[in-house]
């Protein structure tokens, strides 16, 4: 059984990291001016890193349990 929370965390974490780095160093000024002077790469990146961290924390605190066998007999 794999944990979908870790896959969400992986995607959001990589997206967040790439955006944060872009926002800090590689987003040209004219693109920032275009997006209403908000460095959206940076802020969205930080937001996604926070989401990723939250999912990792959740998966750590409440790990998947192997489900008990169903009590209503085998499926037909």
């Amino acid at each position: 059984m794999f944990d979908i929370r870790l896959i969400v965390a992986l995607l959001m974490g990589v997206y967040g990291l790439v955006l944060t780095v872009l926002g800090i160093a590689f987003t040209p000024d004219e693109q920032i001016a275009r997006s209403a002077n908000v460095n959206i790469n940076l802020w969205a990146g930080i937001g996604m890193l926070a989401v990723a961290a939250a999912f990792i924390a959740w998966a750590r605190l409440r790990p998947l349990k192997v489900p008990p066998p169903p009590d209503d007999g085998p499926p037909q």
Binding site: M1, F2, I4, I7, V8, L10, L11, M12, V14, Y15, V18, L19, L22, G23, T27, P28, Q31, I32, R34, S35, A36, N37, V38, I40, N41, W43, A44, G45, G47, M48, V51, P67, P70, D72, P75
Partner: protein, 566 residues
């Protein structure tokens, strides 16, 4: 139109954007591969072995519906009508989702049926079952094709790929993960898609609001623009319904959209109900639509508001262009409201965010198509193949059939995608027509669940006459005999179908013999022991925050508050 498409909608995606987009597709296929290892029986393939936690099925429940039509269509409606579009969420979805979880789910989940048509078979008889199974399966193939075509046309606009290349590539990706991992792969991908869609649209909304000077700036600009301040309040929504009278408009929204159309869609459409059937317990199944309702309440804020922002800030859509489009003409710029989201992304997002926004759009289109495929293969395999064509084979045989059917359905969807490409209007009509089908289904279900006297003959006769009257009303509105602009005609058609279904079902029930009561246990309210409708409150279902009734109450209060604020 084509001038605009070629030159102005092409986004300046660079290498970083493509890498971010590529990473998403790698994970999508990876989920298909991982989910494959959990599939050993047909129930694993078609219903995820009824093993998933409620938050997963709940997010999948709304992500399955968050397809192309929802994201592009609702932002287009936002640009055109403004806040009244939120009714599609607050009136048109939330009450029906809560009703499904609280009232209907005990029968769907408790009776252990494997699909919505199978409930028809057990409650009524084979004719009702066949009508439901065949109309559902046909609708899914057509809608899958429409989703595929919309996906391909957006890829074509954004990245410049030819339509046929994007159709086949997108179909191959969706097929790969749904055929490998079945419903689990579709559901886990829907969860991932949900987060990507939010990650794409939330920053776009925030930047857009900064651009127009905050919420107050948006209010001022919309009020001053064509459409006026009426677009800032969700009620009475006359522009949306097409009714001139305020009271009629409110009634149309509450009964037409709120009651008949949306209850039909959310409570009988197997695409949605299947997600709840995959939950691991009765409690989780009941919580599925209720947990889904929490994000569903807030989605209009990141779909409709960007549309409204585009309607006042994107040069091709604002001012005289919006006025011309509202008057029913063509904008001087050549843009349409359907371009709202794409144009806003083009105007505002830097490289990086742009790649994620493209990933979010493609994710939403694939979510729609995968949901169509995964519900089609279940209904076709269980309800048509196993019940009527090839019976009594071992379970492994039907698992194999499911995989083959998924591939066949994909090929058919590619076919319908090309039909959609050549006859855009035809597809619009068909889709509207299918939206009418849900209203009589809801009438038949709700009567069948709560009225034990209803007979098998009434089941299929009511359904057929309801569908027929929907088609008749549809024909009358299309040919101009009944004239209702806006969404009013859909509300009237669905309402007529509902009433005819109820009248015919009741009349026929009194003239024919009902099923013996012993066969209806678990399917009809008054014949189901209370203990069987209850859910357990121990183990993974314990705790006040897992109580479906309490959660539903919270959703209701917040929805009412949202209606008061807007």
């Amino acid at each position: 139109m084509s001038v605009l498409a070629e030159a102005d909608l092409r986004l300046d995606a660079n290498a970083v954007d493509y890498v971010l987009l590529g990473l998403y597709f790698v994970l999508v296929l990876g989920i298909g591969y991982l989910a494959r290892r959990q599939v050993s029986t047909s129930l694993d393939f078609f219903l995820s072995g009824r093993s998933l936690p409620a938050w997963v099925t709940g997010l999948a429940f709304i992500a399955a519906n968050l397809g192309a039509i929802e994201v592009m269509g609702m932002s287009a409606n936002g640009a055109q009508y403004g806040m009244p579009t939120a009714h599609y969420f607050w009136i048109g979805a939330i009450p029906a989702m809560l009703f499904l979880g609280i009232v209907m789910m005990p029968f769907y989940y408790g009776s252990k049926v494997r699909s919505v048509p199978e409930f028809m078979l057990r409650r009524f008889s084979q004719p009702a079952h066949l009508v439901n199974a065949i109309s559902f399966a046909t609708a899914q193939i057509l809608i899958a094709g429409i989703n595929l075509y919309l996906l391909a046309s957006v890829v074509n606009l954004l990245l410049g790929w030819p339509i046929w290349v994007s159709v086949i590539v997108a179909a191959a990706i969706v097929l790969a993960y749904t055929a490998l991992g079945g419903l689990s792969a579709a559901i886990f991908n829907e969860v991932l898609q949900f987060f990507v869609i939010v990650a794409a649209l939330l920053p776009l909304t925030i930047v857009g609001l900064y651009k127009v000077g905050g919420w107050q700036g948006l209010v001022d600009k919309v009020s001053a623009g064509p459409g006026g301040a009426e677009q800032l309040d969700s009620w009475p929504g006359n522009q949306l319904t097409g009714f001139g009278n305020d009271l009629l408009s409110v009634l149309g929204l509450v009964f037409g959209l709120g009651f008949v159309l949306s209850f039909g869609y959310w409570t009988t459409n197997f695409v949605e109900v299947q997600r709840a059937m995959a939950a691991r317990s009765m409690s989780a199944a009941r919580r599925t639509p209720i947990i889904g309702a929490f994000p569903k309440m807030l989605i209009p804020l990141i779909v409709i508001i960007p549309g409204m922002i585009a309607g006042v800030s994107v040069a091709e859509l604002a001012g005289e262009n919006k006025a011309a489009l509202l008057a029913g003409g063509e904008a001087p710029s050549g843009a349409t409201f359907n371009n709202a989201l794409l144009l806003l992304m083009r105007d505002l997002l830097p490289n990086g965010m742009l790649g994620i926004a493209i990933a979010g759009l493609l994710a939403s289109f694939m979510a729609g198509m995968a949901a169509n495929l995964s519900s089609f293969n279940t209904v076709f395999t269980y309800d048509i193949w196993q019940d009527y064509l090839v019976r009594d084979r071992p379970d492994g045989y039907y698992l194999g059939v499911g995989r083959v059917v998924t591939a066949g359905a994909t090929v058919l969807a590619i076919g319908t995608a090309f039909i959609a490409a050549s006859y855009t209007n035809l597809m619009d009509y068909l889709q509207q027509l299918f939206s009418f089908f849900n209203a009589p289904l809801f009438a038949t279900f709700i009567l069948g669940m709560f009225w034990r006297r209803m007979t098998p003959t009434a089941g299929w006769l009511g359904l057929v006459s309801g569908i027929t009257s929907a088609v008749v009303v549809f024909g009358l509105t299309q040919s101009g005999v009944i004239d209702l602009p806006g969404q009013g005609s859909a509300f009237v058609g669905a309402g007529a179908a509902f009433v005819v279904d109820v009248v015919v079902s009741v009349a026929v029930s009194y003239a024919t013999t009902p099923k013996p009561e012993a066969e209806l246990v678990g399917l009809v309210y008054s014949l189901t022991p209370k203990a069987d409708r209850r859910h357990t409150t121990t183990g993974a279902d314990a705790g006040w925050y897992r109580n479906p009734g309490l959660l539903a109450g919270i959703v209701l209060v917040v929805t009412i508050a949202l209606n008061l604020v807007f």
